[in-house]
Amino acid sequence: MNLRHSWIIAMKDIKIFIRKRTVLSTVVLLPLMLSILFPLVIEFAGRRTGGIPTSYLITLLDSFAWFFVIIPAVIPGPIASYSIVGEKVEKSLEPLLVTPITDGEILLGKAIAAFLPAIVATYAGAAIFMVGIDAVTQGKLGYLYFPNWEIALILLLLAPLAILLSIELNVISSSRVNDVRTASQLGSVIFLPFIGIYLAGEIGVITLDTNTLLIIAAIMAALVLALFRVSTALFQREQILTKWK
């Protein structure tokens, strides 16, 4: 596999999607809004209630941190869908497939194009979130809550896995539809289980501690491997040209 070819494809896709306002806004606005919103919520909730109890505050912060698994699961959708279904719509896959590059190189290029902006946006949002939360909670807690092991696990393990899952789902949905928006919507069903986990944490069914996060990461890794097989099997040039809708 020639990684240079994948990189060329990824850079081309990123160059195109940067010019697409709808795609760009999902990548930039979602993490930015949530990373600013959460510290503001803590600050105003504290002021209104005369101070959030410490134990509840910590549960709340862990729940908010979980959003940095949900955000990377959502961001790659529009990019991955545009990157694959967009090529189908523009009929540019045939000239691309006739170049001396392998199916794996194309798929990797598409994955890099969706992965890089998603991870950069997630990390940038997380940095703003952590600084903001520490600024509004240090007085109450007496120490800097972030960074901690949980957010480290989320950012270094769960967020990349969530991005990979999202990309794989989008490759699979892209092979079945002819419309960028539909592919993106189908691919974004991935965020539903993550919302479920968030709600379970909120109502106290599970605690999003290090052990739970590691178990979730193991399940996600297994899913990533399983979906990798499906998406690579679907992303074959002959299938793309003759069987994809």
Partner: protein
């Protein structure tokens, strides 16, 4: 089955035309030769490499260029960026890329538009850019699938002229078309395909392959003696309409001299001689209809 029983050989530097109606298997054949889809049986070789062999497929794709029936350009990129992207995929150095892109865009009169988004291009400009894309790595063999379809006459002429320019450069071109005039003007040899190969040869050979050419001779005056003299030659059907004598001929270039000699010997005087021949269109229609009747 899209294509069946197809045997052909295209020489280096030849412009080979593939004629056939919609659904004849032209695009399928090109896709098979470009290693985009697999053949169910049979063999094909391009420049000594075997189509269908994984390692050879990559080698084949390095030495071919494809102008597909849909231009498939990146509308969100400029003309230059479209070509640069493809040139990079063929591992061209920066110097090679700059040189070939500039040369192609200038030749195709798109240099002034190099930094303009492709989305704003006309159909003709997009088609020219698709041709430039197929040539950006200087391929030995160029496959073109209906390169002038859906273009206005002016844009179609520009594209045709450019293909003729490529022909002068002795580039091997495999041209899918259903434009007979285009095939006749550009191609050294033509194959007529309708799922199966119906005929193959130079445009002239294909024209000659269809019977039905007639020699029309305008006489000053007719007589039974002249008519009988021509009939005695037993070349084909002879008919007379006023002073116009019409004779079916298989090979008028050879037989007309004999006919005229017979008329002169019978005392006839000739005002004009015309060969009303079958055209490539006649040949094409006959061969395609034969297939339909089978």
């Amino acid at each position: 089955m899209a294509v069946d029983g197809l045997t052909l050989e295209v020489s280096d530097g030849e412009v080979f035309g593939f004629l056939g109606p919609n659904g004849a298997g032209k695009t399928t054949t090109v896709r098979m030769l470009c290693c985009l889809i697999s053949k169910t049986s049979g063999t094909a070789n391009i420049a000594g490499y075997e189509v269908g062999n994984d390692a050879d497929s990559l080698r084949i794709r390095k030495i071919i260029g494809l102008v597909p029936d849909n231009v498939g350009l990146y509308e969100g990129l400029t003309a230059y960026d479209n070509l640069d992207f493809y040139a990079k995929l063929y591992d061209r150095t920066e110097g090679q890329r700059k040189e070939s892109i500039a040369s192609l865009l200038k030749m195709l009169e798109l240099w002034e538009k190099k930094d303009v988004m492709v989305a704003t291009f006309s159909k003709g400009m997009k088609q020219k850019l698709a041709i430039a894309r197929a040539l950006v790595h200087d391929p030995q063999i160029l496959f073109m699938d209906e390169p002038t379809a859906n273009l206005d006459p002016e844009a179609a002429k520009t594209v045709r002229d450019f293909i003729l320019e490529l022909k002068k450069q002795k580039r091997t071109i495999f041209l899918n078309t259903h434009n007979l005039e285009e095939a006749q003007r550009i191609c050294d040899r033509i194959a007529i395909l309708n799922t199966k190969l119906r005929a193959m040869g130079s445009p002239e050979e294909l024209e000659r392959s269809v019977r039905g050419r007639v020699t029309v001779i305008q006489l000053e005056q007719t007589s039974d003696v002249i008519l009988n003299a021509v009939k005695k030659l037993r070349l084909g059907d002879v008919s007379l309409d006023g002073n116009k004598l019409t004779i079916s001929t298989a090979d008028p270039e050879k037989e007309n001299a004999t006919i005229l000699d017979a008329i002169f010997r019978a005392g006839g005087r000739v005002q004009s001689v015309n060969v009303v021949g079958s055209t490539l269109e006649d040949a094409y229609l006959k061969l395609v209809r034969e297939r339909g009747a089978q």
